[in-house]
Subunit: 155 residues, 2 copies
Amino acid sequence: MMQQEFMKRALEEAHRGVDAGDGGPFGAVIVKEGKIIAAGHNEVVKNNDPTAHAEIVTIRKASRKLAHFHLTGCHLYITAEPCPMCFAAIHWAHIEKVFYCNTKTQSAEIGFDDQIITEIIEHKRPDPVAFVHTPMESCHTLFKKWFDKPDKVLY
Amino acid sequence: MMQQEFMKRALEEAHRGVDAGDGGPFGAVIVKEGKIIAAGHNEVVKNNDPTAHAEIVTIRKASRKLAHFHLTGCHLYITAEPCPMCFAAIHWAHIEKVFYCNTKTQSAEIGFDDQIITEIIEHKRPDPVAFVHTPMESCHTLFKKWFDKPDKVLY
């Protein structure tokens, strides 16, 4: 399969999601060694899950399939440029390459303004969420416990 | 229950996760109107899921419980400052207030350097992931289809 075919599959997923009313017009496909190992679409509305963006849904499927929390060597095909949540998830998953179709600007034009969250991260606009630092000695102890754990698994 | 009690519950969750080898030392609790509606901890290793940070796990539980993709009026208690994935998820979920214990610097000290992802978002360091824009007319059609859908649900 060629790159365009993979993107078509992501598009098909997105259409399926829109037709079913599952969420926004976003589909994703994860490819390893030239084969699709997972496909998914946005299910925020269907599952009442604000984290169920197409990328997250599909990363979860692929990592379950590969039985590993890293998708090393995998390529992700998505119908739109990822939001910061999915962008970070792509990095946590160690995905190698991402092909995206529509841009953030195009997403904003139809009502998905992820750019707002990016600007909050970049401290370019005020944060509507209040973040309160409440240090506790017992939290330091927790971190030390993990750090000293001989069989800890890094990810 | 007081704020400190909620954080203690998040800490207990984190300890449970570390003891079980489920993932990193991170726990979360979501509170609505003074009552805990969801609690969870990092399950990246247990579930082979790179997105299973404590915040994501707990947001998913809470939104399922409230049967809504927005957690308006909810407070989140977490053992550490969120990574960009969870930070964005908090915003998508419309959480009102976040109490966190350990800082990003403290997380980095024990091996969780989320700051790297933040710096990539801020274009302060090169991105190890290749992002390739591959525009397609059919992707534009997909977005238009969603935009014109009379019963679309915004989130």
